[in-house]
Symmetry: C4
Subunit: 109 residues, 4 copies
């Protein structure tokens, strides 16, 4: 789906982490993943910034994708500088010091 052109910067306008369900009707659970592939021989350091509708961006979340590895992140696993708020739309920008390939996937169940 994606020509093999590693890039330093990627944007994902779509993002949403559902609020936890507290009642008898479980809220739709959306498993959004950020899949990153680093086919180079150098470890990549990523800085992820998250944008919102009504407030300033949060970030950067720093993480790493080692050389010749892939990592599939969930946005609700990011904790530092603070968890991504649940129940509100967000977007994200991924910046990497090494060219990587990013894919955003959503699995609704």
């Amino acid at each position: 789906m994606i020509p093999m052109t590693g890039k330093h910067t990627w944007a994902i306008p779509e993002g949403y982490i559902p609020r936890e369900s507290t009642g008898p009707e479980p809220e739709l659970i959306s498993h959004e993943s950020l899949c990153v592939l680093n086919t180079t021989d150098e470890d990549a350091t990523l800085e992820i910034t998250v944008y919102f509708t009504d407030s300033d961006p949060i970030g950067p979340y720093e993480t790493e994708v080692p050389a010749n590895r892939t990592r599939h992140f969930r946005f609700n696993e990011f904790e530092d500088p603070e968890p991504v708020p649940k129940g509100e739309p967000f977007a994200s920008v991924i910046e990497s010091d090494i060219p990587v390939v990013c894919q955003h996937t959503r699995l609704d169940s």
Copy 2:
């Protein structure tokens, strides 16, 4: 999924707002969103034009995505110059005075 290349114009050939269900069998509900990310320091003004199969385009719908913000729109929230007709296929073109990144998502339930 989308290299970080803000653009002034985006096209979405797919679009459909289901008619409201009136009978015992609820019609499939499709939640289509238009996610727009503005990572610049200037507010973006958007003009959205909607195309149909058998009639002239409607629009522009005018809306805004402030600097360093994201907005996730639903096509059934657009009211002016007139609501987007339900139950018929449409396509859309988004024009922005500031380069933005757009993503069209569909969640069927």
Copy 3:
């Protein structure tokens, strides 16, 4: 999702029309659509060629998208030169005399 760059040729590697169900267990129904948007002031004539795993391509299927219109096609509506076979994977190439924007969508239910 798609920068506004009309093109004369599009490729869709994915395609599948399920066989009709004959038993009590309905086969998964896949609604694949080919959405085409023509934002120009000229009618576009499309030629669609369908590729298979074990046999020669079929086509072209000829159809049209008028100026300033969108059309959402289903592959099982193409009849001439022959219906697209059900129950086997296919791919397609869309060629247009006018630059159009294409999107392939799949709704599984």
Copy 4:
């Protein structure tokens, strides 16, 4: 969805083959396909390399897409040099000696 630009190399950051279910609750089954279209008059030889989170890449898996044909692969059908491990995220890179068009699709059921 994909402009008709055959390429020699494609990357798919997303990939996952579920473990087989052994209990009463069947695990979610994900049917991921790699759809490849070869519209040229020459047979294409593909080499597919699969990347992981914590271990070295596996491959290349060699396969072929004949001239004017499409093939839709499932990652769990690749056997040589070894099956793709189940139950862990992977990514893949497809290299072809002839320009092809690739699309990665996921059907969750």
